[in-house]
């Protein structure tokens, strides 16, 4: 996209200075503090991030009854786990899980903006926020997934979930073959944020 438009030479340097000026003024005016932004960022680094989702999926993989509960009543199943307080907080008030199987692959999109299940996955990656993804995924998910390196047989149904209201969708990816005997902690290392939005499969080996 950036080859299509002209940008000023100092595009990033200018934005960095402008946001610093804005933050500085907001602190001066008593709107926020000099610790506010760092505290918010720290919350997403330490407490709400894809590491939560990875733990959730790993448990669903080893415990089929937990997975069934997670699919039936997502918030209640999440509450069973020992996550920090906030799993029904901002952008987590209405999270819902869907499951990938050998015959169903789910892809999440927000065609209107970038709605994303913050407590379980943290903040959305750029591909998910990209208007090109948002425009194309809703009509040609199979083609998009192919561009992302995933090919599906004709017998696999692709379900695209548009987060256009209060629900924040996420995906339980399939457990990769050859992972029998792995601990939950090891399994969690295979779960990527992309696999929990349907744009990738879980990793098959921790060595990647």
């Amino acid at each position: 996209m950036s080859e299509r438009f002209q940008y000023p030479q100092d595009r990033e340097v200018y934005s960095a200075a402008k946001v610093k000026a804005l933050e500085s003024l907001l602190i001066e005016k008593g709107i926020i503090t000099s610790e506010t932004v760092d505290k918010v960022l720290n919350y997403f680094e330490k407490e709400m991030g894809p590491f939560n989702g990875a733990k959730l999926v790993a448990k669903a993989w080893v415990d089929p009854e937990f997975k069934a509960r997670l699919l039936k009543d997502t918030p209640s199943a999440i509450a069973e786990m020992n996550f920090p307080r906030g799993m029904t907080g901002a952008e987590g008030e209405n999270m819902e899980a869907v499951e990938n199987t050998p015959t169903v692959h789910n892809l999440i999109v927000c065609t209107l903006c970038s709605c994303y299940p913050w407590p379980i996955l943290g903040l959305p990656p750029y591909w998910y926020k990209d208007p090109t993804f948002r425009a194309r995924a809703i009509r040609e998910p199979r083609k998009i997934l192919q561009e992302f390196g995933l090919t599906f047989n004709d017998d696999v149904e692709i379900r695209v979930w548009d987060s256009s209201a209060q629900i924040r969708w996420f995906v339980i990816p399939e457990r990769p073959a050859g992972t029998e005997g792995m601990s939950e902690a090891q399994l969690a290392t295979l779960v990527t944020p992309e696999s929990m939005m349907g744009s990738a499969k879980a990793k098959s080996s921790p060595s990647f």
């Binding site: 990033e12 960095a16 200075a17 402008k18 946001v19 610093k20 804005l22 933050e23 500085s24 003024l25 602190i27 005016k29 008593g30 709107i31 926020i32 503090t33 000099s34 506010t36 932004v37 505290k39 918010v40 960022l41 919350y43 906030g86 029904t88 907080g89 901002a90 008030e93 209405n94 065609t111 209107l112 903006c113 943290g122 903040l123 990656p125 750029y126 591909w127 990209d130 208007p131 090109t132 948002r134 425009a135 194309r136 809703i138 009509r139 199979r142 561009e147 992302f148 149904e157 692709i158 379900r159 695209v160 979930w161 548009d162 987060s163 256009s164 209201a165 209060q166 629900i167 944020p193």
Partner: protein
Amino acid sequence: MKLQHNLGGLEGLGPVDFEKRVFVEPWETRIFGIHVAMMALSQHLKEAIPKYPIDQVPTNFKSTWTWADLRKGAEAMHPFDYFKYRYYEKWLGGISAFFVSQGYISQEELVAKTSAYLKGKGSIPESRNEPIDNQIIEYLRVGDPGERELAGEPKFSKNDTIRVKNVPPVDHTRLPGHLRGKTGIVDKVYSGFYVYFCSTGPDGLGEPMPVYRVRFDPKEIWGELAEEKSVVYADLYETYLES
């Protein structure tokens, strides 16, 4: 109509940039933090289900700022600029314009300070205030649920066939444009009634209403441009549906 409300199905855009980072420049983290703070200190939280003591939070921010306000800013952009500028560049533009238009800062002081920082002059002031930051973190932990008391009966039931209304286009909507006039099947009636952050006027959002998960056959939406063996689900507020 706005391109931003009608992205679904737009063709000729080329490959998706599969960028996995959340932030691609360090400065983007700052505007993200500012947006969260604004939502957490917003006057609208006085009506939120969690009883935030908004009047007691010692901030000079006395406005309403929600996801709807951020989205409206992005949706008000020239459609080509919407593609030209990155995600957080749009946030920076919209949020700094908001603070200027609401009178918290002046355009002159923003420009002056930006110039100073461009020359490497000056540092961010130090200022602590735990009650402000506590409210912000508490908002992150507790959220702002849209669910409200039941205010009647849902019009539609599971397995009903519905058609998406062609509501008048306005400045902001939660109706994905490609669904206008399309027929779908109610897959789930979400329990409860849901508000939206603001009224969207003739578009119909605002007051508590049911929300439905609707299943669409892609051929209904895209005709022969639909892929085989796929299904589209969208969550739609009741105001967007008719029998």
